[in-house]
């Protein structure tokens, strides 16, 4: 087992105990429950309701909050518990530690969000017989986990108020500012993930989905994945720099 895998595995165990998995899992699966309860095939605005719940609750609320809680804990818990010295005092380059921490955040966030994405797609399948949304939702959940978890992992080490700072980004910047100024939509992580979803849904509804929340972001799964990987790379460099420069707890 390489050090990156060993640190990643230990980190997932640290930040995602069963109780937290169940709590965050409930949040991630709430949109699916809502879709199951309020939509049906004979409803006139059924598709708009589904997309509204998906964009507003799954992408706009569950995805950032699940990622925020898990990713800020990845380095934040080590700082709080003063355990970072345990891995920092090993012959492992800081870049490897940074990468391991970010990948662990992504893995934990993906594990929770994937359940929400799949149940959301399944809920729609049960209510309408349309099962082709499961895969787009799953891909978008992974893209969202990549972006958010990468953004929030260094934040967890930089400030003790990481959760508050993250919530400010999610609700003030992504919610209020980008909501009012669609030209800034490309700075919204969940809209980047949503662009992957919009690109993978059936062609006849793609424009409707895109119009719903994307603003200036162009639908495209490949573009979303590339953006996500760029965020991962930048976050890894930033986290490496922080681990090298700062005194470690």
């Amino acid at each position: 087992m390489t050090p990156v895998i060993a640190i990643g595995k230990a980190t997932v165990g640290q930040i995602l105990p069963w109780r937290r998995f169940l709590g965050l899992g409930a949040l991630a699966n709430a949109p699916a429950l809502l879709v199951f309860l309020v939509t049906s095939a004979d409803q006139a605005d059924e598709f708009e309701t589904f997309v509204g719940i998906t964009a507003g609750l799954f992408f706009g609320v569950a995805m950032p909050i699940v990622s925020l809680v898990l990713a800020t804990a990845s380095l934040g818990d080590e700082r709080r518990d003063e355990t970072l010295s345990f891995i920092a005092l090993k012959p492992i380059p800081r870049a490897m530690i940074a990468l391991a921490k970010i990948l662990a955040s992504v893995a934990a966030a993906t594990a929770v969000l994937a359940t929400g994405a799949v149940t959301l797609g399944v809920a729609r399948g049960i209510r309408t017989g349309e099962w082709e949304y499961v895969l787009p939702l799953l891909v978008a959940a992974i893209v969202g986990a990549l972006v958010y978890a990468s953004l929030f992992t260094p934040l967890g080490y930089l400030t003790q108020r990481a959760t508050l700072s993250g919530l400010a980004y999610v609700f003030i910047w992504e919610g209020a500012v980008v909501g009012a100024l669609p030209a800034l939509a490309s700075t919204s992580a969940w809209r980047v993930a949503f662009s992957a979803f919009a690109a993978l849904v059936p062609e006849e509804v793609a424009s409707l989905v895109g119009d719903f929340a994307l603003g200036s972001v162009v639908p495209g799964a490949g573009g979303a994945v590339v953006k996500a990987l760029v965020v991962v790379a930048v976050a890894t460099l930033l986290t490496t720099w922080i681990l090298r420069r700062r005194d470690l707890a």
Binding site: A10, D81, F86, I87, P91, D247
Partner: protein, 316 residues
């Protein structure tokens, strides 16, 4: 006062060198122009709480960057050479352990992160060394403080370090565990490893090693063998707290001893001032037995140690 490489704060065969190191956090100076070195064998780093011991040890390990000066371990700066951690290990003071892991998982994790890779036999040997095998499959969150200390020591020992830094490793351990750990540290020192153990209790350090570096307020207070430091302290009174069921008669009896120069009584507690702590330690039980009283607590007060160190700093 500047140190010369021939002063007692230096060793000839240094593996860890501290050169004019200062560390400050905002306006607070934690370590001030400290120079010393550590070599093979066991060295005690002595100082009262808040003296700067932990900050110095964290700088030695590369966790904190000196604000001024330099530190080398085997000739390399640990901040810029992660390979130093192939042979350096730190046992931190705080409860820096993963509560969700078992003792065995913690030691195995440490082993996996080393350059040698995981070795189950070494994990078992390290657990056995600190007598933690029986509890090794329990979650660390259920461990006592002493057990957590031993788990941290095992996690350091598993990688066979040649430079081992231990920050107050005996905190929270019971007398049996303390003896066991002290014998391990002495053995590691005798094997030629550089072992640096910090403590705020002189008697504790005295049981481990002859060589001591004492710091207070971030400055070097004394260095050399314990005997020399003791003789430097000879003219300073120690304060000892004694709790007894017959405070007043015991105080009167103790005051008859040549080594006791003063006593203050506060209910069932008394604070004794003595110039010879060992003599008082020997005499007190027999005096108590003679007058038929029971001593519940007998311990040196930190404040007195701190004042001794401050005195030594002023004298340098």
């Amino acid at each position: 006062m500047s140190e010369t490489p021939t002063s007692p704060s230096y060793v000839a065969d240094a593996t860890v060198s501290v050169s004019s190191v200062s560390k400050w956090f905002g306006q607070k100076v934690a370590v001030s122009s400290l120079s010393c070195s550590f070599g093979p064998g066991l060295t005690g780093l002595l100082g009262p709480n808040g003296a700067g011991k932990t900050t110095l040890l964290r700088m030695l390990a590369g966790l904190a960057r000196p604000s001024e000066g330099s530190i080398t371990v085997e000739g390399r700066n640990p901040r810029s050479h992660p390979n130093v951690y192939r042979f350096l290990a730190l046992v931190p003071e705080e409860d820096a352990v993963y509560g969700h892991m078992t003792g065995r998982e913690l030691v195995a994790y440490s082993s996996r992160l080393s350059h040698r890779g995981h070795d189950a036999a070494r994990v078992e040997a390290a657990l056995a060394d600190v007598e933690l095998t029986a509890a090794a499959d329990r979650p660390i969150s259920s461990f006592s403080k002493g057990m957590r200390q031993r788990a941290k020591v095992a996690a350091a020992l598993v990688n066979d370090p040649t430079v081992l830094i231990l920050d107050e490793p005996l905190n929270g351990t019971d007398p049996v565990q303390r003896s066991r750990l002290i014998s391990i540290f002495r053995r590691l020192g005798a094997e030629g490893r550089t072992v640096i153990v910090s403590s705020h209790v002189l008697q504790e350090v005295e049981r481990m090693t002859d060589r001591v570096i004492a710091i207070v307020d971030g400055k070097l207070a004394a260095a050399g063998d314990v005997g020399a430091i003791r003789s430097a302290m000879a003219d300073i009174p120690y304060r000892v707290l004694i709790e007894s069921d017959k405070t007043r008669p015991l105080a009167v009896a103790l005051l008859e001893s040549d080594s006791v120069i003063g006593a203050t009584i506060d209910g069932e507690r008394m604070h004794i001032e003595t110039t010879d702590l060992r003599e008082l330690g020997r005499a007190a039980p027999s005096i108590a037995a003679r007058i038929g009283c029971r001593i519940a607590v007998f311990r040196t007060e930190d404040d007195s140690l701190e004042s001794v160190f401050r005195y030594l700093v002023r004298r340098r």
